[in-house]
Amino acid sequence: MGTTRMDRRLFLKAAGATAGAVATVQVGCLKYFKKGRSSAADNREVPTTCELCPNKCSAIAVVEGGFVKKLNPNPENPKSRDMLCARGNAAIKQVYDPDRLKQPMIRVGARGEGKWKPVSWDEAFDFAAKKLSEVKEKHGPEASLWSSTEGFQEVFFKNLGLAFGSPNLVRHPTLCLASVNLAYSATFGTVPSFDLLNSKFVIMSGANRFESIITPDTMDLIGSVMERKAKLVYLDPRFTVTAAKADEWYPIKPGTDLAFILAMIHVIIKENRHSKDFVTAYTTGFDQLTEHVKQYTPEWAEKETEIPAADIVRIAREFSDAAPRALYYAGRRSSWYQNDFQMRRAQAILNAIVGNWDQLGGMVPNAKLPKGEFLFMPWDEPKAARVDEIEKHFPLAAKGDGVYLKLRENVLSGKPYPVKAWMVYKQDPMNAMPDQAKTLKMIEQMDFIGVIDIHMSDMAWYADVVFPESTYLERTDPVEVMPGIWPAVVYRQQVVKPIHDTKPNLEIVQGLAKRLGLSDYFDYTIEQWVEAEFKELPIPMAADHMKKHGVWAASGQPSFGKTLNPDHRFVTKTGKIELFSERLQEAGYDALPVYSAPVPPPNDRFRLILGRVGYFTHGNQSNNVWLNEFMKENDLWINPKPAERLGIKDGAYVNVTSSVGSVKLKVRVTEEIRPDCVFMLHGFGKKSKMQSLVYNVGASDAVILETAWDKVSGNAAFHETFVKVANA
């Protein structure tokens, strides 16, 4: 070829024209998986959508000799920014993982003993349907619990739960980002995106964006910060990669972020630095806010946060100077403290008063793209009220998602009614929920547990029947609209046929529905479902386009300011951006964020904080052989000062004990953490022997985390546990 580097788009075109011609001969580990080979001459490139985390990046699967050989980023998706992270690249090892669930299995020993009998799909379906029917007959359909995490095929699972008659669907948000969603919704009537590509000043509270990868935020921010287009101020008790890249890092006293934000609002209003025009035109409650924040001086905040008052004042000034291209970034997995909702509310208010709403470099309401919907037969609404009593305890929370920890409390107490069957899709409540001993008690009292997953999670390990789902590279899934500043429609199509006796979730749901007498509600194929969705995409030959490209994004630049006209009504009670919220007041909450200081750890204890690294974010990734190489065992970070005081040496093992459990961890004595905190990584210490790389290696945070939740959203508060650390 005459050129040294061809444009990737051009290359794809060329590769499409000469399909298969680019195959190269390679020897290597794939040959151990001859079983998965469809045909030696099977060489293709198939665009699809990654499933290793919720970002849904577009990828192109390279099939060589019938194997998925490589996943390349697909540059056509503006949200995924032409990249694929370590997890995305390692998805191949999900398919060819020797630990995978390869056929349906029914438990034969005691729960958790790990004795299984491989069974046919018919046997597995019959068994589960019988058990579910028994529970329904004895206790009513509401005695069944349907747990799931997000994913393109989650909809079928949820629909099965509803068609079965249970109101008790419980989803991941209250273990993740319910507080941030609720706080921004309460203020703006929607949860916006953050334009980190164009922002000039960004503040992050613990949102460790350079290790917890979110597209396009991570890529946009690293570019802006490193090219000196943006300034990043970062608050975190731990020196993370984000801290290392930030212009300023403050090891804030844990749980005091709200004080910092309130003091910033105080400075901005006192110095008249807010956007008067914007506040007048679009917000309500500014006078109450002004009065409310008078008490929150920078000097007061310094005592709470340990961030010098002079810095708070300076940051507030720099932030408002940079506005509207200034952001207090919301982050995800916002489940930290019991005041989480109000802390996120304060961020939203701060963002609002500097007028960064719907502006270049500010917060932007998500643009959406249209798609069709498959119309299926509707069922009667479940009659019973939810077992978590969400309307009574969390009137503002998302009803369809439920509140995980309150739900567990109620199931354990048997009030308001007993729950005896637990169906789980693609989730591991054993490790996702704090206080594993309590989850085990909940498991003990179930008459039946069925789990659908691609691998033997700890939850599956305690199930009565396990339904193996095909991995994403072996399935075709519903079409998804990814809203955002750069919205896209993404499609996941089957790359290779299932290499084991597995099924996509829809077919598992249909197998169960048939035996539960619910077939009418699931009388369709994935092809019909997807076809209906394609139909209303506003592009010609939509189905062909999506199959060929895997993604469709509206062309052109993002638009800003659509909601900035005086007639725009925000989806709030007043139709304005609510700085002061009557709705919160009526529900019995603080209408403006009120600070209360966190309880400090007793002298002999540390606050346990959690986090992620770029290559493990979700619990099962530590058992991926290509990711496990980077970290074989999680450890406990402790500052040298307390380590010396306790006689703890780097590399030694310690017992880490809370009021609910104790784990043994290797110690990492490091300067990179506050002396009053210790840190451990999520995703190790598995009980399932079919997580062979991490079975009994390191420890699970769920064992020692105590049960606590944010008062408004019900979001689990993961940073409210104090632990004792002692040499093992």
Partner: protein, 183 residues
Amino acid sequence: MAMKKRRYALVIDSRKCINCKACVVACKAENDVPVGNFRNWINEDRQGEYPKLRIDFEPEQCHHCESPSCARVCPTGATWQRKDGIVLVNYDECIGCRYCMIACPYDARYFHEESGTVHKCTLCNHRVDRGDVPACVETCPSKVRIFGDLEDPASRIHELLATRRYHVKEPQTGNGPQLYYLL
């Protein structure tokens, strides 16, 4: 058609590296690198005392040197260099003596147990030859590595090296490494 002279190299903007390991896993898949071996890696330098701290990350792989010591010591000529600068191992001629592993100043090579030969980064020559960039370059979330032809005055790497300060690792070896780290 007269062949234009080419010299492939990588410019690396380490400050943008977030140690996410995407490049390492992409290389594993692309080049069938066995578990336990690596053709590329990320160096970490952690310094300071709480709260005055810093961490620097620095991706590294074969430097595809101008005058590669690995090729000089190879008794069979298995390690060779293409005209465009890419240093490769001809596995048919490699006898697995591993002199090259000792001679490499960057420890960029590993012994491939299954084949009994020495492997290392090929700059994804199979991708480059079909007009694509190496897997590590393409997959990177923050686009830390920039791949290109130093002989092409219009290339991005040419421009970067002409306008930015940079360094190479271990220049004293006389190997003439071709991984350029921006300062």
